[in-house]
């Protein structure tokens, strides 16, 4: 079909007739021009059927020609729910309709329209649930019927990104009001960003007609555009839609594949008005469109919108439409003017001079179609509000242009906190109570016909096209008791579809006000929420950005064949090799029998310095530090104000006023921040620094560790007397300045060496070299977990939960009773006076049985009396060992407990005192 409706130049300011573009719609090849949208190209070829409605599968076509309605939603590959009147055509583009059975033209789903009377508003709330469980069956059916487009599950979004922008003034809307506002702002020295959602500036100047001079808008547009282009401080963005307003004038702008995040000192909203519907029987037929839609077709795309038109007028703008239709060669059979009196506007007079018949005080009562397109309208005299005479006149036409009123594009303003105010005088809503730094562009004079709503005995006067809601649906919702406009919305789903109430809010407010005996002002509209226009999740996500942290020794782990695991944002080696069971077992034995190397760089580190340093530590930890001798290491247990254990580590005293404190990898950031918060109130004379990422740390551990380390050390001695267990020393190791700690976490002779982080790899290499003859191996986190379990040590976050207190953990020894105060101390006093509800104990299980897993429950008959928190086969002891919470009655060593393993087996275990390995702690103190 060649473009039968195409008008000759100069009509069609956006299309380039030199470039023909072929695309496919519903399998049919269609030709258009570059600059056409899918809808305009189809219209040029007299193809007006674009979609099927959600509920009744009624045929739908062009309504606004500006992407303001959802009639034009079509399916592209990799993009469902695409606005056909906003999407440009491209060579080879494949487009289909959505939500039909069979074809768009012959949709079997439209049969449901015959049952409309059985489907009143909210019908699904009153049926489909008997017998019990029936809805599960029905909902599968509803689910298939619901939804519009089809998501392509193999689609991968690419090329989305984001950009920050800043300006003094952002003007939203590049029409005459916006361009003037931008020029004014620029003249006063502001940096201005002018946003226009369509491809070119101009707004209504591109299609509307304010007077009889057909060229007036073109000239005005040309003048304004050149002024805008001449102003150096105005930046113009076209095809840029402001989708949301957020706090402090943070505006989201979608342009292509980019989400711009704009901070503006001032917002000026010049987004104009959205033309509104009239309600009459079959007002949704293809061929019924807004007057401005017809004007856009003619002037932007050079498409004749029909052959024989009727114009439904409620204001003088309709007559600009009439003149444009005549100029485009469309016969105007009549103007049906709802107003009783003829206006004296020059456009009205001109229309009359050109022979157009005007029927004042009349309305379109019904539209009738033929082959899914408008064929005639029934016009009747208006006899009262919403009431017509009992008979009227049939007028044949294939185009009905509706121009009865407008609604401001209020959404962004209301997102910012503005309110809508209804004025009875002009029968229109206007935006009021603007927040600071938010202005509106100059307002037009708006003339709305107050009641373009004509109920019909057969209904189908659609209030909401997206949801197929008719007048009776809205009224009946209120009769059923859903009177508040929010309840009307939720009960009927009015305004909940893709056009989000752009055309339904106004008639709904009118109908609900009338039905409930309130005013339209009181009724109002439902809340405006971002986004104003659809944004894909791809836009909102942009480029994925999840930082990963690696220690300085990372490469050595990979080279050694480590399987990495994630601990927060850190990557740590879990074990080295392909067989986890074997690797972990060998690494454990390596440490027990010889020497292993563990990367502990992720461990938290905090420097604490100052006259009040010891006092500070006394307050944040449960243990005592005032009298701690320099050069020694003490355990550190942290509780929160409620007495719950939240972190642990060690405190190293480096000097009278200097401490180095370690914290868990995952906890250090929060611990550090909390310490600072406490001191913001205590105001002790102490300085804190989070040095976690400043240091790399390597633990060299095992009976052979001293021998391996000793040759590398300068400036200090590593023999047992000079550097005992729980000591801290500073010196040079392998030429690197280092701090060394001797701690008992894994229960062997060992040295935790902290060096500047960029020296981590060098230290690792030096130790691996030095230990080669001793058979040194890298040891991963899993082995470390097992080693500490053999010593009965608790891991905060694994063996502790959101409620664990030190008494339950059998760590009363870590609570310094003589201290005046520490965080959590008072709560621990309260808790100590209450009976313990559970205790963490060590257990051994039958080596021949299954290994219980962490979180398997301890059961006593039907009761759950605890759970396993750590459990593993111990290579050093050759038995199954673990930690578990049990009720205090079962906590005594020797008690037998039952562990429910996955509901299939019960494993018997015996409570034992800890540590499991080297009970006297001799090996770590070598």
């Amino acid at each position: 079909m060649s473009q039968v409706n195409r008008l000759p130049a100069p009509q069609g300011s956006l299309v380039d007739r030199a470039q023909t573009v072929s695309f496919e719609f519903e399998g049919q090849c269609v030709e258009g021009f570059a600059g056409d949208t899918i809808a305009s190209a189809l219209a040029a070829s007299d193809l007006w059927l674009l979609s099927r409605s959600f509920k009744y599968h009624r045929p739908r076509g062009v309504l606004t020609m500006a992407g303001q309605d959802a009639n034009t939603l079509v399916q592209l590959s990799g993009e469902p729910n695409c606005l056909a009147d906003r999407t440009p055509i491209s060579e080879g583009l494949q487009v289909t309709g959505q939500n039909y059975s069979g074809s768009l033209r012959r949709d079997r789903g439209s049969l449901i329209g015959r049952f409309a009377r059985f489907l009143p508003v909210g019908f699904y709330y009153h049926a489909f649930f008997r017998p019990r469980g029936a809805w599960n069956w029905w909902s599968a059916w509803f689910r298939k019927k619901a939804g519009l487009g089809v998501v392509d599950q193999s689609f991968v979004g690419e090329g989305f990104d984001k950009q920050y922008r800043f300006c003094d003034v952002v003007v939203i809307g590049g029409g005459p009001v916006g361009m003037s506002a931008a020029i004014t702002a620029a003249t006063s020295g502001a940096e201005v960003l002018l946003l226009e959602e369509h491809t070119v500036l101009g707004g209504s100047l591109n299609y509307a007609r304010a007077g009889i001079d057909a060229n007036a808008e073109k000239l005005r547009r040309k003048r304004l555009v050149s002024e805008v282009e001449a102003a150096p401080s105005i930046t113009v963005m076209t095809s840029a839609t402001a989708t949301g307003w957020y706090a402090d004038n943070w505006v989201s702008v979608l342009c292509g594949k980019r989400l711009h995040k704009l901070r503006a000192r001032k917002v000026v909203l010049c987004s104009g008005y959205l033309e509104q519907l009239a309600l009459f029987h079959n007002n949704d037929l293809p061929g019924v469109m807004m007057g401005s839609a017809a004007q856009r077709l003619i002037k932007l795309y050079g498409v004749q919108p029909g052959k024989r038109a009727v114009v439904l007028a409620g204001n003088d703008e309709a007559y600009g439409v009439v003149l444009d239709l005549l100029d485009a060669g469309v016969a105007v059979a009549a103007v049906v003017d709802c107003r009783a009196e003829v206006s004296s506007d020059e456009r009205v007079t001109a229309a009359s001079h050109r022979g157009v018949a005007v029927m004042s005080g009349h309305a379109v009562y019904a539209a009738h179609g033929d082959h899914q397109h408008l064929a005639s309208v029934e016009v009747r005299r208006i006899v009262g509000q919403g009431e017509c005479a009992s008979h009227g006149e049939r007028i044949n036409c294939d185009l009905l242009c509706v121009s009865v009123g407008v609604m401001p594009a209020y959404q962004l303003a209301c997102q910012a906190g503005a309110e809508l105010n209804y004025e009875e005088q002009s029968a229109s809503f206007s935006i009021t109570r603007l927040p600071p730094n938010f202005e509106l562009g100059e307002a037009w004079d708006v003339e709305n016909f107050p009641w373009p709503i004509f109920a019909h005995p057969q209904g189908k006067e659609f209030v909401d096209f997206d949801e197929d809601l008719q007048i009776a649906d809205i009224v009946n919702a209120t009769l059923a008791g859903y009177k508040h406009v929010q309840l009307v919305k939720r009960y009927s789903t009015c305004g909940m579809g893709p056009s989000q109430g752009r055309h339904s809010a106004l008639p709904t407010a009118r109908l609900v006000a009338q039905a409930t005996g309130t005013t339209i002002a009181e009724t109002g509209v439902t809340t405006a929420r971002p986004p104003f226009a659809p944004e894909t999740l791809g836009h909102c996500a942009g480029r994925s950005f999840y930082p990963a942290l690696r220690t300085n020794i990372h490469h050595r782990h990979i080279e050694a064949g480590a399987q990495m695991l994630q601990a927060g944002a850190w990557y740590r080696p879990a074990y080295y090799g392909d067989d986890p069971e074997r690797a972990i077992r060998e690494e454990v034995l390596q440490v027990r029998q010889s020497v292993g190397l563990i990367d502990v760089s992720t461990l938290g580190g905090i420097e604490v310095r100052g006259p009040d340093a010891a006092e500070f530590l006394n307050r944040v930890y449960t243990f005592a530090y005032m009298k701690q001798a320099p050069g020694t290491v003490r355990y550190a247990l942290m509780t929160n104000e409620a007495g719950v254990v939240i972190d642990d580590g060690v405190v190293c005293r480096l000097g009278p006023q200097h401490f180095y404190v370690t914290a868990t990898t995952g906890g250090v950031e929060a611990v550090f921040r909390k310490m600072l918060q406490w001191n913001a109130q205590w105001r002790l004379d102490v300085v804190l620094m989070n040095v976690t990422s400043a240091y790399a740390g390597v633990n060299i551990v095992g009976p052979a560790s001293r021998a391996v380390l000793e040759p590398l050390c300068t400036g200090f001695d590593v023999d047992k007397t000079a550097f005992p267990y729980l000591g801290v020393r500073r010196g040079i190791v392998a030429g690197i300045p280092a701090m060394l700690l001797r701690v008992g976490f894994v229960g062997e002779l060992g040295y935790e060496i902290h060096v500047p982080q960029h020296c981590g790899e060098a230290l690792w290499d030096a130790l691996m070299d030095a230990g080669e003859s001793a058979g040194i191996r890298p040891v991963g986190i899993e082995a470390q977990r097992l080693l500490r379990l053999e010593k009965g040590h608790v891991i905060v976050g694994q063996d502790t939960d959101a409620m664990s207190n030190p008494m339950e953990l059998q760590m009363q020894w870590a609570i310094a009773r003589k201290k005046d105060f520490f965080v959590g101390g008072r709560s621990l006093e309260v808790l100590e006076r209450r009976p313990l509800r559970r205790m963490l104990v060590g257990f051994c299980a039958n080596p021949a049985g299954s290994v219980p897993k962490e979180s398997h429950l301890i059961i006593d008959g039907d009761n759950m009396i605890g759970r396993v928190t750590s459990c593993a086969w111990s290579p050093s002891l050759e038995k199954i060992i673990g930690l578990a919470y049990v009720d205090p009655a079962s906590a005594a060593p020797g008690s037998v407990i039952s562990i429910d393993v996955d509901g299939r087996r019960t494993v018997s275990a015996e409570v034992v005192s800890m540590p499991f390995y080297d009970a006297d702690g001799l090996r770590q103190a070598l």
């Binding site: 469902p80 487009g149 089809v150 998501v151 599950q153 008791g481 659809p534 994925s544 429950l857 509901g903």
Partner: protein
């Protein structure tokens, strides 16, 4: 074609009986005043009227019926919690939900979908196993499942080794379901009103009058109302309303945001949640994808939306379902959640006689609607706290006894 619809179709006029009472003025006195006509308040009124023969009740709301958190939640029903007390409680609720449409004669559109919670770390696996074990022993269908089973359940979920946060395992809760949240409050309110309960919307309680340690009346914007007892069920405003009665609560209030896409043909049946990524998703019966995630980071009594949260939810969901990149966001909104120290509710007695609390519902309120209605009604009618909700009494904090559900709440924490 269901019989009910045939009846509608063959009549000439739409049934014009209002579902709710059209009460004009407030009476001088009611046996029970319920502050808050959301799901909980309406449910309490219903159970009182239906099962305890008490209908001299004023159900008050400062806004429209269900306009608080009931209108704003993401309608998830599940019982895969962590503590014994919690699991028993939510288990009962799921059971009641199953029969609720038939109980109320109002379709709440409950759909069994199953809920899959994803583990991206060993710590998460541990936590899920704990929940699965406790659930199983209490008759709730939950199990820890491996990657292969996850792939079979949700074929379009990205389960690969090269994602930034590989999925290691999942907690599959076959009892997970959704319902039409508005229908729940409407159904309960209708059932209550049919039995004589008076619903008064746009009626704000401005002060609570306590004499000799007992509540005697409330003052509203429409006049004073004497009362035998008061129940407050005002999620999002619990501290504010409690303060009127001189009661302080262990609550911090934060917004919880959510968003929804345009409708698409169905591709996702189960609910999928990733606490690690702070996102959960379900595709509704309308075909829209509802996305929710973590609570807002600071306290606020406001339902404004932020761009940051939308960006965060979008990033997170595309890690799991990359193809959703093409889905278009339709709308963002928020509710206001009352968070407690232990992520469990506060139900029962207060320091004021005859003033009952239904508070601290955080992100776990909708799913508890029926059991809350039933137990609170029992308390109001008999004066005795039902055993099922005794663990949630306000007093527990004075005893340092918490029912700690951290780790089993939504993607928030």
């Amino acid at each position: 074609m269901p019989l009910a619809l045939l009846k509608y179709g063959l009549r000439n006029d739409y049934p014009a009986t209002s579902h709710f009472s059209e009460s004009a003025d407030l009476k001088d006195h009611y046996d029970v005043v319920i502050i808050g006509a959301g799901g909980h308040g309406a449910a309490i009124a219903y159970y009182l009227a239906r099962y305890h023969g008490i209908s001299n009740i004023a159900l008050l709301d400062k806004g429209y019926l269900g306009g608080g958190n009931t209108a704003r939640n993401t309608a998830v029903i599940r019982s895969n919690y962590l503590t014994e007390e919690g699991v028993r409680f939510y288990r009962e609720s799921v059971q009641l939900f199953r029969g609720l449409s038939n109980e109320l004669g109002y379709n709440i559109m409950m759909e069994d979908r199953g809920q899959l919670t994803l583990a991206h770390s060993d710590a998460a696996i541990r936590s899920f196993r704990w929940r699965a074990e406790v659930n199983r022993r209490l008759g709730v269908r939950s199990e820890l499942i491996d990657r292969q089973s996850i792939r079979e359940l949700v074929p379009n979920l990205r389960v690969t080794d090269d994602s930034r946060f590989p999925i290691l395992a999942g907690l599959w809760h076959a009892d997970g379901a959704t319902a039409r949240h508005d229908a729940v409050v409407w159904g309960y309110a209708r059932g209550a009103c049919q039995r004589g309960v008076e619903l008064h919307q746009l009626t704000e309680v401005q002060s609570v009058e306590v004499t000799d340690g007992a509540v005697k009346s409330v003052l509203t914007n429409r006049g004073r109302v004497g009362c035998g007892c008061v129940v407050q069920a005002v999620a999002g405003m619990s501290s504010v309303v409690a303060r009127l009665a001189g009661i302080r609560l262990p609550i911090h209030t934060f917004p919880l945001q959510a968003m929804v896409t345009q409708p698409y043909k169905p591709v996702l049946t189960p609910l999928v949640s990733s606490p690690h990524l702070h996102v959960y998703v379900q595709q509704t019966s309308r075909g829209e994808f509802v996305l929710g995630g973590g609570s807002d980071p600071y306290a606020l009594y406001n339902t404004r939306s932020t761009l940051e949260q939308k960006e965060s939810l979008a990033s997170a969901i595309l890690e799991l379902f990359p193809f959703l990149s093409q889905a278009k966001v339709l709308r963002q909104w928020a509710g206001i959640t009352d968070m407690t120290p232990d992520y469990s509710p506060i139900m029962g007695l207060s320091s004021v006689k005859n003033y009952y609390l239904d508070a601290g519902w955080g992100t776990w309120g909708f799913k508890a609607t029926p059991i809350c209605g039933k137990t609170m009604a029992s308390l109001v009618a008999t004066g005795r706290v039902p055993e099922l909700i005794r663990p949630f009494e306000l007093e527990r904090f004075y005893r340092f006894e918490q029912v700690n559900e951290a780790g089993a709440t939504a993607a928030s924490h």
